[in-house]
């Protein structure tokens, strides 16, 4: 892997709210490579959707940089943005709200092609039919309206629209959260199949960690506008190192009564604080169950930087690294000295 497809560096997005600043995204950095899926997870209000919208230019970044194949996107004009717009597409959570109810599927799918002046109407119609086929819908349903489809089928239409311009990157903002379990699995499998077929990169935003685990090789966990841990799937689910990641994983109920009866749960106290007045230092410190293991007042005074650990992942936490129990057989240096 050479140059990343997408490089996000120290991205900030602040909104003025009643004379104060809401720091929705507060210094987020990550890379995304061609054909890769990066998961961006966190609870409501952590800023994950704002990151997505700032990358595609729906919001203007307050500070920081977004580079696509090395080209800076922050601060460029709409006209210069246009060629990149074609290559970065987005899928939204609510397939009911993101399709125009008065347009037929044919016109929904041909619209991006028309905007980017690609092909004649007849060619566009053929392309629309191909797209429907690619997402597993009947191409003959091209003259139907969104309300004639079920929720899962509408999400397929949203995906087909995102594919129309042959993008390199699709930002998926909670694409399966509004769907029922049996339909959710269909869409997850479809996204995986399309990724392989078209060598797509996905930035996959979700709050459901079990779904993320199925789709993403690398995952970034956000809390109050910042990334607290970014790691490979195996690292994150095998041995989460940030106390928030640990609590998040432990909060997921497991569909097995036996496991649910016996497993240890970490129940975090309190609520996520308001991003209008975030706590000092590490913003997670008021709820952190492991705070007492850091000496002095460091957690409430000093913002922890996102720094690489010995196993290559990054974490923003004052806890000493040596504490972490490595995965068995992971070749972690600490494991070797112990044995």
């Amino acid at each position: 892997m050479s140059v990343p497809l997408l490089e996000v560096e120290k991205l900030h997005k602040h909104f003025p709210v009643g004379g104060r600043m809401l720091r929705a995204v507060d210094g987020v950095s990550f890379d995304l490579y061609r054909g890769e899926t990066l998961g961006l997870v966190g609870e409501s209000g952590c800023g994950k959707s704002t990151v997505a919208r700032t990358i595609v230019g729906l919001y203007r970044a307050t500070a920081g940089s977004v580079r696509f194949e090395g080209h800076e996107l922050v601060g460029i004009t709409r006209r210069h943005m246009r060629p990149f717009r074609r290559r970065i597409q987005m899928i939204f959570q609510d397939p009911y709200a993101s399709l125009d109810p008065r347009q037929t599927v044919a016109s929904i799918l041909a619209e991006p092609l028309a905007i980017h002046r690609m092909g004649r109407p007849r060619a566009r119609r053929l392309r629309a039919m191909q797209l429907l086929e690619a997402v597993g819908l009947n191409p003959r349903h091209i003259h139907r309206y969104p309300h004639e489809f079920s929720g899962g089928q509408r999400q397929r239409i949203g995906i087909a629209r995102a594919l129309a311009l042959e993008p390199d990157l699709i930002i998926c903002d909670e694409p399966v959260s509004a769907l029922d379990v049996s339909i959710q699995a269909q869409i997850v499998n479809l996204l995986a199949e399309l990724q392989e077929r078209f060598n797509l990169a996905y930035l996959f935003i979700a709050h459901d960690l079990a779904v993320v685990r199925h789709i993403c090789r690398r995952i970034a966990v956000m809390y109050l506008g910042r990334i607290v841990e970014i790691a490979t799937r195996d690292q994150l689910f095998g041995s989460p190192t940030h106390p928030y990641t640990r609590a998040l994983l432990s909060a997921i109920p497991h569909p097995d009564p036996e496991v649910e009866r016996t497993r240890r749960r970490i129940v975090l106290p309190g609520d996520v604080p308001s991003p209008l007045s975030p706590p000092s230092g590490c913003t997670f410190h008021p709820r952190c169950p492991e705070r007492d293991q850091v000496e002095g007042e460091r957690c409430s005074r000093e913002v922890p930087e996102l720094v690489p650990l010995a196993d290559g992942r990054c974490r923003a936490c004052h806890l000493p690294e040596e504490r972490e129990a490595p995965l068995p057989g992971s070749g972690h240096p600490a494991a070797q000295t112990e044995s």
Binding site: E43, D208, H254, P255, P257, E260, R265, D271
Partner: protein
């Protein structure tokens, strides 16, 4: 005798598409102090079932019928509205998915809590206030005195759901119907609320009907589980055997579609083919038949009844082919068949 006995409950809505049979012959019992999980996807009829029990289906367009709905020797459907109102919120309480829309935004938390008591318990204002403070304290709300003066918008989602639970439990009901109580909440807040519900049930012994689409939540909370599909109960069993060995293809498919934290992340997720049926155009046979891998010829024309798969077994399945599921269900088995 069970605390609540529902026999052949039917709810239909007359719409311009035709008659929608939202609940189509549902029967179940709820025992004292147990948690009964009610699982199903959107439109399966799980919420409508509960609204019907509470007499909250608007008519028209809704029509509610049943052989009987017995709660402590009384037939709920035969009660005059005045009597039903005395039970509702008092003996049978309900909490909903979205606490913001179920709390009145114009009244303080205190007023909403004391109103319940004044309505059902004939207590003085002062006593009601004392009970409200105790109720908030019981659900782990810090500084309850101060909260009484606040309005719903001043609280977070998790706190609002705690207020709803406190309100539901004020009259110490026999039954708490919790309809997707944690669906609108973040996972860490969901974990708090589930912990709270487990604790409250242990202390008060309230029977709970827990409606949810989240199989993980059901697994951690329920003694028994009812699975609904297209307005019908398709399986009913104690939680452990249901999750260990589902005997209805829909339950099995649903369980297999859920991504878990311990499955093979590289494997393709199992998915149930097709879409849920149109309730206004259900055929003669089993409603799941068009999506079912186990379907045989008669499934298309004959509707299977909810029976014990083996005589005397303490569980029920509405499937002609339950026996084949006993040998196990796996996506691999489907591929072999294909």
């Amino acid at each position: 005798m069970a605390l609540l006995e529902v026999k052949d409950l039917r709810v239909r809505f007359e719409t311009h598409h035709g008659t929608v049979r939202a609940v189509d012959g549902v029967s179940f019992d709820l025992e004292e102090g147990e948690t009964l999980g009610l699982v199903g996807e959107s439109g399966s009829g799980k919420s409508v079932t509960n609204l019907a029990l509470m007499g909250l289906i608007p008519s028209p367009p809704g029509v509610v019928e049943a052989e009987s709905v017995r709660f402590k020797e009384r037939d709920l459907l035969a009660l005059p509205p005045e009597e039903l109102r005395k039970l509702r919120g008092n003996r049978i309480a309900m909490i909903f998915q979205d606490p913001m829309t179920s709390l009145n935004p114009l009244l303080t938390i205190g007023r909403q809590l004391t109103e319940v008591l004044e309505l059902h318990k004939r207590v003085s204002r002062r006593e009601a206030r004392r009970a409200a403070v105790a109720g908030l304290d019981d659900v782990g709300i810090p500084s309850p005195e101060r909260r009484l003066k606040q309005y719903p918008h001043e609280l977070s989602g998790g706190m609002r759901q705690r207020v709803m639970i406190a309100m539901a439990l004020l009259c110490k009901p026999d039954i708490l119907i919790a309809d997707e109580p944690t669906t609108a909440l973040d996972v860490t807040i969901q974990a708090q609320i589930l912990e709270l519900m487990r604790d409250l049930q242990e202390r008060h012994g309230t029977a709970i009907i827990l409606v949810t689409h989240d199989l993980g939540v059901v697994a951690g909370m329920s003694n028994r589980v009812n699975v609904m599909y297209a307005g019908r109960l398709v399986e009913s069993a104690p939680a452990a055997p249901l999750f260990a060995r589902p005997l209805h293809p829909y339950t099995a498919g649903l369980l297999a579609s859920v991504p878990t934290l311990d499955g093979d992340p590289e494997a393709q997720l199992f998915s149930i083919p097709g879409q849920p049926p149109d309730l206004a155009a259900l055929g003669e046979g089993c409603a799941f038949q068009p999506r079912c891998d186990f379907a045989v010829e008669r499934c298309a024309t004959q509707r299977p009844t909810l029976d014990p798969p083996l005589a005397g077994e303490p569980r029920l399945s509405a499937c002609f082919e339950s026996a084949r599921l006993r040998e196990g269900f796996s996506p691999a088995a489907r591929e072999e068949k294909a």
